[in-house]
């Protein structure tokens, strides 16, 4: 696929493809003199599940920061939901963030607030009325299986449960994009697979998911598009033809992903 070369190439008129929710066009990102992203170009159509992989320091997190407009390209252009990085003011960033859900390896929950308050907060930010917040909380917490634990503080939950709260928080405002940065990094393989399943379910509802991981086992279990990065560059961008077989048992998929029978039999 050919990407426009400069900022003047029609980008200001909007995305090249109306289905494109994220577009990277010859993007460089440098911290001081260190290049974290080097001439990266790719687009993500609406509803895609994209797996971003590569070793630590490959530039995966920088790609996510660029999508969240937490960092801005030193060269090139990033387009997210029709908003261009070159035209993005700091004041507009919160508006963009409300259309993106975030899930992190370290959960990033508000530690001093209950599960329910964590979910409520993102809704208060966008101005959802109280009655609607209560209904939404019930819906998402039931979906992630934590409604009974809604009054607990994050530290009173297991790692997997905390990650499910983070996912509930990410999906409650029905974001168009979900960024998951090593969301399974702190979890055991079974819980990790549960989290991945949850992300697939979110993707099924039409949300584009960008899933970053350095775990090859997890990547292998994916039947979706996988971008491999190294030293800030894209080394491969492969769209797998065979979709993941959701009918395969969790135990089988875990075995395929990890190659460890002890986990499966546990």
């Amino acid at each position: 696929m050919k990407y426009p070369n400069t900022r003047s190439d029609k980008l200001s008129e909007g995305p090249l493809d109306s289905r494109t929710v994220i577009g990277f066009y010859h993007v460089d990102l440098a911290y001081d003199d260190q290049k974290a992203v080097d001439n990266v170009s790719f687009t993500v159509p609406n509803g895609e599940f994209l797996c971003l992989t590569g070793p630590s320091g490959a530039g995966k997190s920088s790609i996510l920061r660029l999508i969240a407009m937490d960092a801005f390209p030193t060269k090139g252009e990033v387009m997210v939901r029709g908003m261009l990085s070159s035209k993005m003011s700091r004041r507009k960033v919160p508006r963009l963030r409300r259309e993106i859900g975030f899930v992190f390896q370290d959960f990033r929950l508000l530690e001093d607030r209950s599960v329910e308050d964590n979910i409520s907060f993102v809704q208060l930010v966008v101005g959802i009325p109280r009655a609607q917040i209560v209904t939404n909380n019930m819906r998402v917490l039931t979906q992630v299986g934590l409604y009974d634990k809604r009054h607990r503080l994050p530290r009173q939950l297991s790692g997997g449960e905390q990650q499910r709260v983070a996912i509930a928080r990410a999906m409650v405002n029905s974001p168009k994009i979900l960024l998951a940065d090593e969301p399974t990094g702190n979890l055991d393989p079974v819980t990790a697979q549960e989290i991945i399943d949850l992300l697939f379910r979110i993707n099924d509802s039409g949300t584009s998911v960008i899933f970053s991981t350095h775990d090859h086992g997890i990547v292998k279990s994916f039947g979706q598009r996988v971008i491999v990065m190294n030293d800030g560059r894209i080394t491969s961008d492969e769209k797998r033809r065979v979709p993941v077989d959701r009918s395969v048992s969790l135990a089988d998929r875990m075995y395929r992903a990890t190659g460890r029978k002890d986990i499966v039999n546990a």
Partner: protein
């Protein structure tokens, strides 16, 4: 425009910090209160010293002795002329008899000596009291110069040494107040600002997460600013309460101690609220401009 849920959230969050960070908030208020107490003590000391100096200045007066042989009408005519001089507040006529009585009173047990005199040697005089604004060396000197040329006047006396000393002490006191006040003020602001920053540091991660989920800076900042204002208010009340208690105890021993008026107390507490607000605002800026560390 905020909806009801958002407004309720911001109000609740403004007070929630006190519950969530009991120890940090308690220590912050204590440190702020101590710094403000030092500032209040200095302000009160300045106020009392100023009051004492002003009382001392009230003693600045002038005696205008008249020549012998002036008729009562001529002497009486001097009174309006003296009152018309700028800086003169009050003029009191002292007849030779009154002057003698005062003199005898001053002699105490030796007053009988005066009875040995054949005639009253004391001249008639006027006692001038200066207006508060004219109780200084320059103004007194001007009045003296104006009266000295009058032919009815034989002598003018005023407490030159006292005025000189008072002028010198007033200058030194003002300089010392200014320097010490400035140092204490800067120190108080520094201590308060750093204490608030410490509170903020404990909330840095929470602020980052709030930014990440799309909260605007104003939405994040408002509860912290309110919290800073409440902390300032409580610290101000603490400082003023401690000072009032100390003043109550010391007043019996020192007597005549001047305390802040209601308006001054309100002003001081308002100053503390503004201090808490600005401390929080400057501390917040650092965290709001930080990146989200995705």
């Amino acid at each position: 425009m905020l909806n009801r849920a958002q407004s309720a959230h911001l109000i609740r969050e403004s007070f929630a910090g006190f519950h969530r960070r009991k120890l940090t908030t308690g220590v912050t208020i204590l440190i702020m209160g101590s710094a403000l107490l030092v500032l209040a003590i200095l302000t009160l000391a300045t106020l009392n010293m100023g009051h004492m100096l002003e009382s001392a200045r009230a003693g600045i007066d002038m005696r205008v002795f008249l020549n012998d042989g002036l008729g009562p009408e001529r002497m009486a005519a001097l009174q309006p002329r003296l009152l018309a001089i700028p800086g003169v507040q009050k003029v009191a006529w002292i007849s030779p008899e009154t002057a003698l009585g005062q003199f005898k009173e001053g002699l105490g047990e030796d007053a009988e000596i005066v009875d040995l005199l054949d005639a009253n040697p004391l001249p008639a005089s006027y006692h001038l009291t200066m207006t508060p604004g004219a109780r200084n060396q320059e103004s007194v000197e001007k009045v003296r110069e104006e009266i000295a040329v009058w032919e009815e006047v034989s002598e003018i006396l005023f407490n030159q040494g006292w005025i000189d000393a008072l002028e010198s002490w007033t200058f030194r006191f003002r300089m010392a107040s200014l320097v010490v006040g400035l140092i204490v003020f800067v120190a108080a602001v520094f201590v308060i600002s750093n204490t608030v920053k410490l509170t903020m540091a404990s909330s840095a991660r929470i602020i980052q997460i709030q930014k990440l989920v799309g909260a605007t800076n104003a939405f994040i900042r408002t509860p912290y600013l309110c919290e800073g204002m409440i902390q300032g208010l409580l610290a101000g009340i603490l400082a003023m309460g401690l000072l009032a208690a100390a003043g109550y105890v010391l007043n019996d021993r020192l007597g005549g101690l001047v305390f802040f008026t209601g308006g001054q107390i309100a002003g001081f507490i308002l100053f503390c609220v503004v201090l808490g607000l600005t401390g929080s605002y400057s501390a917040m800026r650092k965290y709001l401009t930080m990146q989200s560390e995705i």
